[in-house]
């Protein structure tokens, strides 16, 4: 007779001393783990619920401005520095880690229209309603020294926007025309116009550094090559675009914020229809900024909300609002991909988390692992109706809620009418126009 009976040595399964950690022998045999899918689903549901429980995105409010915040600029080399310009011509430099204002200077008379930090981070430029471009040192002036610009250029017309080249000592302004300036000269090295119009913003491409784009008040977005004397091409839309931002990772895409409550992501090469139409705002969109990963962007709107959109999604994944936040004029996504800064009409700058339920600070390895696991589970079960409902649920201000409902009804009515027209006319005479094609008037080269 040959016999063997299971006989385990407890020493192999129990820790030796109390100072050791407990032993956990694993066996991944699927038959020992029944109900795999239902258990994972339950975990995903729990993770989704916890996500909503811990969603506390608002971090701090930076107050100090005595008028509405009109523009902001990220520091190019320091994560903790933020510059903001207000409607009374005041510029403030903020220390974000201390959440306090480090320096205040009266830069312009009237609005500060645009602001940009030079790529080296040692100085910054401002433009204002007083027709001047000023360059300032980043350092605080020493005791007894006066706040004076390094350089002042007096222009002929009002400037409305400004951006700096990524590598060279060249910057661009916009106003009645788009000007390219050399830092050493007091007159523009090149000016672009295309018909009589005024421009609201200008932005350099982060990768193809000689390219730039601008939004014009004749409802067009114009692309330029700095090396050429004439603009490249423009797309005319049904409504005016306010600002635009290039995708930092796929720099042939840019997103523009539009007056018709939508944002449009375009491929620079094919302007005849946008890649994606991002809808959800219920009032004009005023500003947009990409995350440094290029996967998402944040938009600020006149409807007093900030929304976060995935770059290829038509609807927002997140909406931020507070009772006291008024029309949001400008918004920035911090360079470490963790925070969002919004400047609004009621003189405050607000600091938000980019992921509402994220835990800030250093994570323990096991914590990080479990977070990654639950992230993956949420992704896996995201289309299940329960989980979808919980992830999508947001509390909205009353007016935004009703406005969006109204917009939905209007849209439905328009669609119904179109359908009826199509039904009662000769087949082929009323073509189906896609949402993407609806908003583009023409492309001019």
């Amino acid at each position: 007779m040959k016999v063997k009976v299971l006989s385990r040595n407890p020493d192999d399964y129990v820790r030796e001393t109390k100072l050791d950690i407990q032993r956990v022998p694993r066996n991944y045999d699927p038959t020992l783990h029944p109900f795999e899918v239902s258990r994972e689903y339950t975990r995903a549901l729990n993770a989704t619920k916890l996500d909503r429980v811990f969603a506390k995105p608002f971090l701090a409010s930076l107050d100090g401005h005595r008028d509405g915040v009109n523009c902001m600029a990220k520091h190019t080399t320091s994560l903790s520095t933020l510059l903001s310009g207000s409607c009374d011509g005041e510029v403030r430099v903020w220390n974000l880690s201390k959440r306090e204002c480090g320096r205040t200077l009266q830069a312009h008379e009237g609005f500060v229209r645009g602001m940009v930090v030079r790529f080296c981070g040692t100085s910054f430029f401002t433009v204002g309603d007083d027709k001047t471009i000023k360059q300032w040192k980043m350092e605080t002036p020493g005791y007894g020294e006066e706040e004076e610009p390094l350089n002042t250029i007096l222009g002929k017309t009002v400037f409305t926007g400004l951006d700096h080249h990524r590598k060279d000592a060249v910057f661009a302004t916009c106003g009645q025309q788009v000007d390219i300036w050399d830092e050493q000269r007091s007159s523009p090295i090149r000016s672009f116009t295309w018909g009589v119009d005024s421009f609201s913003s200008v932005s350099f491409n982060p990768v193809e550094t000689e390219l730039l784009a601008s939004c014009a008040s004749d409802r067009s977005i114009v692309l330029y090559d700095m090396r050429e004397s004439a603009p490249l091409k423009k797309v005319i839309m049904t409504m005016r675009s306010n600002t635009l931002c290039w995708n930092p990772m796929e720099a042939y895409y840019f997103t523009s914020s539009n007056e018709d409550y939508n944002l449009y992501t375009y491929d620079m090469r094919y302007l005849d229809r946008p890649i994606t139409v991002h809808m959800d705002h219920v009032s004009a969109v005023l500003d947009v900024d990409y995350s440094p990963t290029g996967k998402e962007f944040v938009s600020a709107s006149f409807d007093k909300t900030v929304r976060i959109f995935p770059k290829d999604g038509g609807h927002s994944r997140e909406v931020y609002h507070t009772k006291r936040m008024q029309h949001v004029i400008c918004v920035k996504w911090s360079a470490d991909n963790k925070y969002i800064l919004s400047g609004s009409d009621e003189m405050n700058i607000r600091l938000w988390k980019a992921n509402a339920s994220e835990k800030l600070g250093v994570l323990a390895p096991r914590e990080r692992e479990s977070r990654n696991y639950s992230q993956k589970l949420k992704e896996k079960f995201q289309h299940h109706p329960q989980i979808r409902r919980i992830t999508h649920h947001r509390h909205l201000p009353k007016n935004v809620y009703h406005q969006s409902k109204e917009l939905r009804i209007m849209k439905e009515a328009r669609r119904r009418k179109e359908r009826n027209v199509r039904k009662h006319s000769k087949p082929g005479t009323v073509p189906v126009v896609s949402e993407k094609a609806k908003h583009v008037v023409t492309v001019v080269k």
């Binding site: 040959k2 694993r26 109900f35 039904k423």
Partner: protein, 590 residues
């Protein structure tokens, strides 16, 4: 493609030069210097990708100059994993790749498949490292294993294992029902005449012992060893491990049998009034009460794979129940005469039943078809399946254990043992080679080598867990309690694509939009210059496209036809093979 192995042989100069045993600094220099060396390593990398068979052929040609000793690696590449091990961890078949225009979906699917394949391989590799092996019992030549007595086995094995064979003489309050906890550490005994005791049976420590002064129909551990349920004469009671009565649940009356669904925290009870009731023990609420309208319910078991409750009835049917439906999911006529006992194996594939017609039948409950039928002279009063698929059947006072009842026709039991009184309850201990038998004279713990799963999972059911670990496990288990609504015949249904809902939603969308956004666009020929867009030409081009489409359709139908024919042929072949076998009735043929 160039053959990398040969090339390296021709071009290698290190081997020809017969350099003295290398030094690591020298080796490094050489590597830096000549391009051939790096080329060779590159080729080696390329080679790794090739199939193992090719690798074996070329093995002798290649000389690994990577090694100082000059020897080549006899086992290049990652260690091979046995196919059956990989198969064990396979979750689903590969998905057919979507067409090229859905490139994003294609990418997502490719990535996820890659990840799952890696996980599968890693799990299979880990499987080789599991510490314990299953037990076994082999007789000498001309010796049946069923003739080996328990005393012999207990004498032959080590002392700790030998101590697992014991008898408890409890003649006063029997016969006994029993239940092992999920980890297999704790034993709960319930005597017909009111005696309830729980024992840490390995250390033989008595945790509590009470007499409820009422008849006891069934006992069951709840999710951990701190609580258990006792079905008494009238009501259902919950006690803790010190024997203190926690609850008397008056909604559950005349309970005869109970089953606990550990992942759902549900206690399913079958009563004499033909009610099947579910109690959620985590919140203490009755989840469902189903009137089965089939009389007294005293045969019950659960399918551990999908948490469906199987009930056996007096008319020979077995019915399958979930808490979400007032009607039985399935009704199977299994026996002529009443069903005496039912049990389902761990993977939810096989169901074993025994009936008053003295038959023992095996069913495949994926297809609900009978597989095997055995005749037991005395009939089995209770059945139990172990984790590794051993079947124990009690006939009177004899307990028999069978092996492989569903795959091979069984003629002899694997083991047999006579207990003192009539066996009343049978239960295999999880993760141990032990079968507990409750009978009229007490309790017997039998050794059944090869019954228990040798390697447990520490995060699921850990027999060696500390109190702290148990508490932590309890919290985690409660957090991932599966809702009773998710109980269905196929537990993986939740992970599949819901085509019905998708189609419904698609229809709604078409209704709302007024056109089908996913419809195939009609072919509109491009306008071509230089007279190539004449009406005839345009027609011709249209025809070409239509022709292509038609060809696709035809190709598909032909492929389908071929497939069907192939299957048919295989079926015929199988039938032919089967018909060639001689049957017992052939001798009567002239």
């Amino acid at each position: 493609m160039a053959v990398p192995g040969e090339a390296s042989v021709d071009e290698s100069h290190v081997g020809e030069n017969k350099t003295p045993p290398g030094r690591y600094w020298k080796e490094k220099q050489e590597e830096g210097k000549d391009g051939q060396q790096t080329e060779q390593t590159l080729q080696q990398k390329k080679k790794k990708k090739q199939k193992a068979k090719k690798r074996k052929q070329k093995e002798d040609q290649r000389d690994g100059k990577k090694f100082i000793s000059g020897k080549s690696d006899p086992f290049p590449g990652p260690a091979p994993i046995p196919e059956d091990r990989v198969q064990k961890f396979k979750r689903k078949d590969k998905i057919k790749k979507p067409p090229h225009q859905h490139y994003k979906l294609r990418d997502v699917i490719a990535r996820s498949e890659e990840a799952s394949e890696m996980a599968q391989k890693q799990a299979a590799r880990f499987d080789l490292l599991l510490p314990e092996d299953a037990g076994f019992l082999e007789g000498d030549e001309d010796e049946d294993t069923c003739t080996i007595s328990q005393e012999d086995i207990a004498g032959a094995v080590d002392i700790t294992s030998g101590a697992k064979y014991f008898n408890l003489k409890l003649p006063q309050f029997g016969p006994y029902r029993l239940d092992y906890s999920k980890t297999g550490r704790h034993l709960l005994l319930g005597g017909r005449r009111g005696h309830v005791s729980c024992i840490d049976w390995q250390s033989k420590q008595l945790m509590c012992e009470i007499n409820v002064m009422e008849s006891v129909n069934d006992v069951k551990w709840l999710h951990s060893e701190t609580m258990y349920a006792v079905a008494q004469k009238k009501w259902l009671y919950i006690y803790d491990s010190n024997g203190i009565e926690l609850h008397c649940i008056r909604k559950f009356n005349d309970v005869l049998r109970m089953q606990f669904l550990p992942y759902h925290f549900l206690l399913a009870t079958a009563s004499a009034t033909s009610f099947l009731q579910y109690l959620d023990v985590s919140v203490g609420k009755e989840v469902a009460a189903i009137c089965t309208k089939t009389g007294r319910l005293d045969v019950m078991c659960q399918n551990p794979h999908n948490a469906i409750i199987h009930l056996g009835h007096h008319n020979g049917t077995v019915t399958l129940w979930s808490p979400n439906q007032k009607e039985a999911l399935v009704k199977m006529l299994c026996h002529q005469g009443g069903v005496r006992s039912v049990t389902v194996d761990k993977t939810g594939t096989y169901m074993v039943t025994s009936g008053m017609d003295k038959k023992l039948k095996v069913f495949d409950i994926r297809t609900f078809k009978p597989l095997k039928s055995y005749f037991l002279p005395a009939g089995a009063s209770s059945l139990s399946l172990s984790q590794r698929g051993l079947l124990s059947a009690a006939t009177g006072d004899i307990v028999q254990v069978y092996r492989d009842v569903w795959s091979t026709p069984v003629t002899k039991p694997y083991m047999a043992h006579r207990v003192r009184g009539t066996a009343w309850g049978l239960h295999f201990c999880p993760f141990e080679d032990v079968l507990g038998v409750g009978h009229g004279e007490g309790f017997t713990s039998m050794l059944v080598p090869g019954a228990g799963e040798p390697n447990f999972d520490g995060l699921d059911a850990n027999p060696y867990r500390s109190a702290k670990q148990r508490q932590e496990w309890e919290v985690k288990a409660l957090l991932e309690k599966i809702q009773p609504e998710l109980i269905s015949l196929d537990p993986s249904e939740l992970g599949r694509v819901d085509h019905a809902t998708f189609e419904q939603r698609h229809q709604d969308r078409v209704q709302a939009l007024g056109f089908d956004p996913l419809a195939k666009e009609k072919f509109v020929p491009k306008y071509k210059k230089k007279g190539r867009s004449s009406a005839g030409n345009v027609e011709k081009r249209k025809k070409q496209v239509a022709h292509e489409d038609q060809r696709d359709v035809i190709r598909k139908t032909v492929e389908d036809k071929m497939k069907m024919e192939k299957e048919k042929k295989q079926r015929e072949k199988k039938a032919a093979v089967l018909s060639n076998q001689r049957s017992a009735l052939d001798r009567f043929k002239k």
